[in-house]
Amino acid sequence: MTTITSIAPAEGTAGAGSTSVRTSRHRGLLRWLFVVPALAYMALFFGYPLVRNIVMSFQHYTPKTYFTGEAPFNGLDNWRAVFANELFTDALWHTALFTVGSLLGQFTIGLALAVFFSRRFRLSGVIRAVLLLPWLVPMVVSAVVWRRILDQEHGMLNTALHAVGLVPADGVPWLSSPGVALFSAILVNIWIGIPFNMVILYGGLQEIPRDLYEAAALDGSGAWRTFRSITLPMLRPVITVVLVLGFMSTVKILDLILALTSGGPADSTQTLGTVTYQLSFLQLDFGQGAVVGNVLILISAVFAVLYLRANRADFGKGK
C-alpha cells in the first residue's frame, strides 16, 4: 500500500519538466520500488537471523536476559560448552544416520516408483497424484498418526506382525526402545519423503529423449543395461538436485522427531534440530542453541555449494 502513495507523486514530479536523464534515472528507481519490499522482508526474515545467530553464539543468554535485556559477550564459552556436551556429539551422529538412512530409502523407493510410473497405463496420472498426499499433510500430523501405528501394545503394526507370526506377543518396541527408535523415525521419514523424490525423478525421466531408448532397444540392450547406461547418466543432474534438496530438508528436521519421540527414549533420537530447540527454548540458553544452529548452517552451506554447482548450468542460461 505504501508503494502506491510513494509512486504517484514521484512520477508526477519526474514528468514535470526535468531532464530526460533525470527522468530515466527516476524511472530506474521507481522500478526498484516493486522489488524493495520483498527484499526488505527477506533481509529481515532470512538475513537478520543468520547474522544474529552468529552474534548470539558468542553471547551469554539466560532467562534473565529477557527481563534485563543484557546478554554479555562471553567469547568461546558457548562453543566450548556445546562441543563438550555429550548430547551434541550424539546428536551429530544421530543426524548423520537419520539423514543418510532417510535419503537412501526415499531415493531408492522414489526412483523405483518414478521408473514404474513412467510406463503407460490407465489411471497412472491419478494414482501418482494421490500418492502425493503424505507429502502434503502437515508433518506433525503424519508423525502423530505413525505414533499410533507404531505403539508397542496397541499399535497396528505389532498387531499385524504378530498375527502373521513375525514378532512375539509383546511386539517390537518401535518407539520406546533406544536401540530401535531412531530406526523407526527413519522409517517414517522415508515414508514422508517418497512422494518428493518420486515427483522430481519422474519429471527428470520425462525429459530423457525417447529415441535414446529406441536406439538402445535396436542395439538389443536389456532393461537393466538400458537403465544403467542411459537412464542413470541422463538423470544425473536431477539426481544431484533431489539428493541435495533432500539432504537440506532432512538434516534440519524437527517436527517429525518432536511429535514422534520428543528426542527420546534416553535421547536416542536427538538430532541437531531438536538439540537446538532444546537448548534455546527449553533450557533458555539461546547462546548455546545458536552454536548448534550455526553448525547446522555450516553443514547446509557445504551442501548448498554442491547444489549450486549442480545448478550452475541452469543459472548460466539467464532465466
Binding site: V35, A38, M42, A129, L133, D314
Partner: protein, 271 residues
C-alpha cells in the same frame, strides 16, 4: 493389442497396490477417527459401525485452533502475495541490475534452517512485543512461501509481453496502476497456485507455532494436535479425528491444484 491391454491392466493393479501400501497410514487415520471405541485398546481393521462422535470431540476441543490456523495461513497468503507479486514482476520484466543475484539469493534463502530463523526471531520478537501475537506468526509464516512464490510468479511473468503494459501506460496509467490492472489479472492462475501453496506451508508450520508462542493465545492446529497427543494419548479416536481435519487443506490442494503440485514440490529449484 490384447497383450498391451493386459499389461496395462496388470500395471494398474500393481500401481493400486503401491497406493494401498503407501497410503495405509492415511487410511488408518480415517479408520481410527471413525471408531469411537478406538480409544486405548486395539483398533478394528474396518470402521464397521462408523460414527462421527470423535469429530465432535475434536471440534469442541480443537475447533479454535483450526480457526487460528485458518486465520494465520490466510494472513500469510496476503502478506506473501503482496510482497511476491510486485517483486516477481520487477525481476521478470525490468531487467534490473543485480536482478539475477536477487533470484539467486531467493533460492538460497530456502536453505536456511527454520530453527535458526526461530532462534534469532524469538529474541527480536521478544524485544518488539510480537511473541504470542497473530501478526508475529503471520509474518514468520509468510517467509515459508515467499521464495517459492517469487520464483513461481517470476517464471510466469517472464512470458507477459511488455507491449501489453506499455499500451496501458500510453493511455495514462502509471506503472503501478498498470501492474494492478493488467499484470495481476493476467497472472491469476499463477497467483492462485502460489497462494494455495503458501496457505499449505503456513497451515503445516509447526516450528514457528511452537517457538514464537509461549501461551495458548495463538495456537494453530499443528501445535494443538502436538499438545493434544501429549495430554490425551488415551483418546486416540479424537486425536485422529483432529488429524483428519488438519489434513483437509492438503486434500483440497491435491484436488484443486493437482497439476501445479509437481512444480510446487520442486519449488522452482530444478528449473
Amino acid at each position: 493389442m490384447n497383450r498391451l491391454r493386459f499389461r496395462s491392466a496388470w500395471n494398474t493393479t500393481a500401481a493400486l497396490l503401491i497406493l494401498a501400501v503407501l497410503l495405509f497410514p492415511v487410511y488408518w487415520m480415517l479408520n481410527t477417527a471413525l471408531q469411537p471405541e478406538a480409544s486405548i485398546a486395539a483398533t478394528q481393521w474396518f470402521p464397521t459401525a462408523p460414527s462421527l462422535r470423535n469429530f465432535d470431540t475434536a471440534i469442541s476441543s480443537q475447533g479454535g485452533s483450526l480457526l487460528t490456523s485458518f486465520a494465520v495461513a490466510l494472513g500469510a497468503v496476503v502478506v506473501c502475495l503482496a510482497l511476491a507479486a510486485p517483486a516477481a514482476y520487477g525481476l521478470a520484466q525490468f531487467g534490473l541490475r543485480g536482478g539475477q543475484g536477487i533470484v539467486f539469493g531467493t533460492l538460497i534463502t530456502q536453505m536456511v534452517p527454520g530453527i535458526v530463523i526461530a532462534n534469532a526471531l524469538y529474541s527480536a520478537y521478544a524485544e518488539l512485543g510480537l511473541v504470542n501475537s497473530y501478526l508475529g506468526l503471520v509474518l514468520a509464516d509468510a517467509s515459508l512461501g515467499l521464495p517459492f512464490a517469487i520464483v513461481l510468479l517470476r517464471a510466469f511473468m517472464v512470458s507477459i509481453p511488455a507491449e501489453v503494459v506499455e499500451a496501458a501506460m500510453v493511455d495514462g496509467a502509471n506503472r503501478f496502476t498498470a501492474f494492478v490492472r493488467i499484470v495481476l489479472p493476467m497472472s491469476r492462475n499463477a497467483l492462485i497456485t502460489a497462494g494455495l501453496f503458501t496457505f499449505l506451508f503456513a497451515w503445516s508450520d509447526f516450528m514457528f507455532a511452537l517457538t514464537l508462542n509461549t501461551t495458548d493465545d495463538v495456537k494453530p492446529i499443528t501445535l494443538g494436535i502436538y499438545q493434544f497427543v501429549g495430554a490425551h494419548v488415551s483418546d486416540w479416536g479424537a486425536v485422529m479425528a483432529t488429524a483428519v481435519l488438519s489434513a483437509v487443506p492438503a486434500a483440497i490442494l491435491l484436488v484443486v491444484a493437482q497439476k501445479y503440485i509437481a512444480a510446487g514440490i520442486t519449488g522452482g529449484s530444478v528449473k
